[in-house]
């Protein structure tokens, strides 16, 4: 059982060191069920599924490295990770916010449907794949550093932002960028070679409307993660967009 270190009007602090994920998550759900809006987890070390399926508007602060599928199917809460995160952050997340003040692993935001994920540092492979949006529900992922291959694969909606801070020798994104993309937009700061792109996307100059959206997001990202945004200008970004909503429309004969 996770030991309660402190419970006050300022929230609950739980010690997660050595606690199995199932017990830890049960206790988080129980506290939130009792109306707690502010939970801090100390000593987190690889516990999976933190925040999984939670629907209330609580804030969960994680000290340590949470395990895979952080915030999977989450629908409302805010999670702040004061360290790195592993794979599957925000898997199929519907609403809420996840702020990672370090790096995050592979498949961040798979099939994300809404809410925001801000990662200060780098993200791994297949990030933001198959995100979708509908009306006011527009998922957003902003990564401060670099991304691996298949960034935005099959993307059907939403916004991906790749800022490319840090190690400037590395290409900002890997290969197959936006491959299979048929909706949404990817903003990238820095140089993108034509051969990095999926065959369904093209590089566009950002429109004024896009610049405004991007500017708001960058400001929010900077204030949430504490990243140094002084060198980041909206004008330095390009927009990657699909040129067809039906990339495979001509694949078949009837």
């Amino acid at each position: 059982m996770a030991k309660t270190i402190k419970q006050s009007s300022n929230g609950t602090v739980l010690e997660a060191k050595g606690v199995y994920y199932r017990q830890l998550n049960e206790q988080i759900r129980e506290r939130i069920g009792q109306g707690e809006k502010d939970i801090t987890l100390d000593g987190v070390n690889g516990q999976r599924y933190i925040g999984g399926g939670l629907t209330d508007g609580a804030v969960i602060t994680i000290n340590g490295v949470p395990g895979n599928d952080l915030g999977a199917f989450m629908n409302g809460p805010t999670i702040i990770v004061n360290d790195n995160a592993q794979d599957g952050v925000a898997n199929t997340m519907n609403a809420g916010k996840i702020i990672v003040k370090g790096h995050a692993g592979d498949v961040v935001g798979y099939a994300m449907r809404g809410g925001k994920v801000f990662v200060s540092g780098d993200v791994g492979y297949r990030v933001g794949i198959h995100m979708k949006s509908f009306k006011e529900q527009v998922p957003v992922i902003v990564a401060g550093g670099h991304a691996g291959d298949f960034f935005g694969e099959y993307m059907a909606g939403g916004i991906l932002v790749l800022i490319g801070l840090g190690n400037s020798d590395k290409p900002v994104a890997g290969d197959y960028l936006g491959t299979g993309m048929h909706g949404g937009v990817i903003f990238v700061r820095g140089k993108i070679d034509e051969d990095q792109l999926g065959k369904e996307v093209r590089v566009f100059q950002t429109t004024d409307e896009e610049k405004a959206t991007l500017s708001t997001l960058l400001e929010e990202f900077g204030s949430d993660t504490g990243a140094d945004m002084s060198a980041v200008k909206v004008e330095d970004f390009v927009a990657l967009k699909p040129f067809s909503h039906r990339p495979y429309g001509n694949l078949y004969v009837y």
């Binding site: 999976r48 599924y49 399926g53 989450m74 794949i129 909706g183």
Partner: protein, 502 residues
């Protein structure tokens, strides 16, 4: 000038102009636009798919549909379908798309299996007068049953089935997505499932809010495209199914064509109107059994530990795969055979990939028994269940329950024309065109589904009675009550059923 197409029509439509009363019902009913009206009804045979909608609605029975009698020079290797495929692909480059299940004349294992009955040495039972138990529990069963005195001189066992889905009979409706089929199909299935005490499966297109009232009769699916998957949806079902593969198209993803993405489908799937809905071939968070375990437990965590089903297409190494799925923590394994239907699949995959469900089912059951983990999971067999006889045989081969998809659609009017991917279904089933979907009244549909399944239920009870058992549980995995006839000895050995006479 060359003709527009060198592929001859599949069918010939004839209207008996003496009988025709010029009511235009055929023109209105054909979803494929095969009729026009000048001063009389004029059929365009090239557009006919033999769905019979016009025939059924012609008040004078004036319409006849025939196979095109056009004679081709015989060639044992180049059958007509292969020739037509070549002409089509020479005309329009691309993969040949098709719908419903594999229609090639591969051997049917079910058709080479016979069921036993009691004679003299043990009595058969008359199901009309004696109770016959078809109740089925799906989910993990305990390794041991703990029995303790109940304090009244008897005994009780509390942990026999916990966290299982209870069905009144071992037949459920297979996953067919809203998008591939119309909302009225989903409504018909949900209403029928509720009445029958069984479940329908959403398929991968999400669950329309109008069906939330039927939550206790619904299994919700989480597939690679994650369409319509959110915490409310996950918690609406009695169980969540992770769809890894589909019998009609093992190993490939899905493309729901933009034509089928109207406003309502768009809102359930969360993609723009008219966009293709792309389901990736794999789940990109599952590259291993360990990753599957991760998604299984992510879903359990998000749903308060509801049973999780994992659906796979039956492929060559199905037994080892099923063992991995059981060990990954699944509660149910859904085996979809190579005869299983689809709204759209490249023909090459539908017709040539995968193995028969009967064989897969038998080897999975054997493998799990051998490993001592058969009780960890329930097995559902689907993809080729055509009758109650198939149900009985599947259960004797080791299935806990079966899924029916194609048979259910046929109850709703489907004629197996295999044109689901066009979105023109005249019966209002595999379409989103409002003028067509309105043709299927969910009340009418549900009644026909209930009629069909209730009929099979009667037949199943009759078979159980003949076998001299009074519970479907006594038939489960009981291959001793099956014999093969005309099935090669290797296959008989693989499915562990002895030949008739032995």
């Amino acid at each position: 000038m060359m003709p527009a197409s060198l592929v001859p029509s599949e069918f010939l439509v004839e209207v008996d102009q003496d009988k025709c009363r010029r009511c235009k019902r055929c023109v209105l009913n054909c979803g494929f636009g095969a009729f026009t009206f000048t001063d009389r009804s004029v059929p365009d045979s090239s557009k006919c798919v033999a769905c019979h909608r016009c025939v059924m609605f012609c008040p004078e029975s004036a319409i006849t549909i025939k196979e095109n009698p056009l004679t081709f020079r015989q060639h044992a290797m180049w059958d007509v379908d292969k020739r037509k495929a070549i002409w089509k692909q020479a005309e329009h480059s691309g993969m040949i798309l098709t719908g419903m299940g594999n229609d090639l004349p591969y051997l049917s294992v079910f058709d080479h299996i016979l069921i036993d009955a009691c004679q003299v040495t043990n009595p058969s039972i008359d199901p009309l007068r004696e109770p016959m138990e078809l109740r089925t529990y799906l989910g993990r069963k305990p390794d041991r049953i703990e029995v303790e005195p109940d304090g009244k001189g008897g005994f009780k066992a509390d942990n026999v089935v916990t966290n299982n889905i209870e069905l009144d009979l071992p037949i459920m409706f297979s996953g067919m997505s809203y998008g591939s089929v119309s909302l009225n199909v989903h409504k018909s299935l949900a209403m029928a499932a509720k009445k029958l005490g069984t479940v329908m499966n959403t398929g991968e297109g999400g669950l329309h809010k109008e069906l939330y009232d039927y939550a206790d009769s619904i299994i919700v699916q989480c597939a690679s495209g994650r369409f319509g998957v959110h915490s409310e949806y996950l918690n609406k079902g009695v169980a969540v199914e992770i769809k890894i593969g589909q019998g009609a198209k093992p190993g490939i993803g899905g493309h729901l064509p933009g034509e089928k993405i109207g406003r309502e489908v768009s809102s359930t799937r969360m993609i723009p109107v008219g966009t293709d809905a792309l389901s990736p071939a794999p789940h990109h968070d599952i590259y291993s059994i360990e990753d599957l375990r991760q998604l299984i437990y992510a879903l359990k965590e998000a749903t308060g530990y509801k049973p999780i089903s994992v659906k796979i297409a039956t492929v060559h190494n199905v037994a080892a795969i099923a063992s991995g799925i059981a060990r990954a923590g699944a509660d149910i394994i859904y085996l979809d055979g190579f005869r299983g239907g689809t709204g759209a699949s490249p023909q090459i995959v539908r017709d040539h990939v995968g193995i028969p469900m009967e064989i897969a089912l038998a080897v999975v059951d054997q493998q799990l028994r051998k490993e001592g983990i058969r009780n960890w999971v329930s097995i559902i067999a689907a993809g080729g269940i055509r009758s109650s006889a198939d149900v009985a045989k599947a259960i004797a081969l080791g299935a806990d329950a079966v899924g029916i998809g194609t048979a259910a659609l046929m109850a709703l009017g489907c004629r197996l024309c295999q044109k689901c991917y066009t979105g023109n279904c005249s019966w209002g089933i595999a379409t989103q065109r409002p003028e067509l979907t309105g043709r299927l009244d969910p009340e009418w549909g549900a009644e026909r589904l209930v009629n069909l399944v209730e009929s099979w239920k009667l037949e199943l009870k009759e078979v159980l009675g003949a076998l001299g058992v009074n519970s479907i549980e006594s038939l489960r995995g009981n291959r001793e009550r099956l014999r093969t006839l005309g099935l090669d000895s290797t296959t008989s050995e693989i499915i562990d059923v002895r030949p008739a006479g032995s």
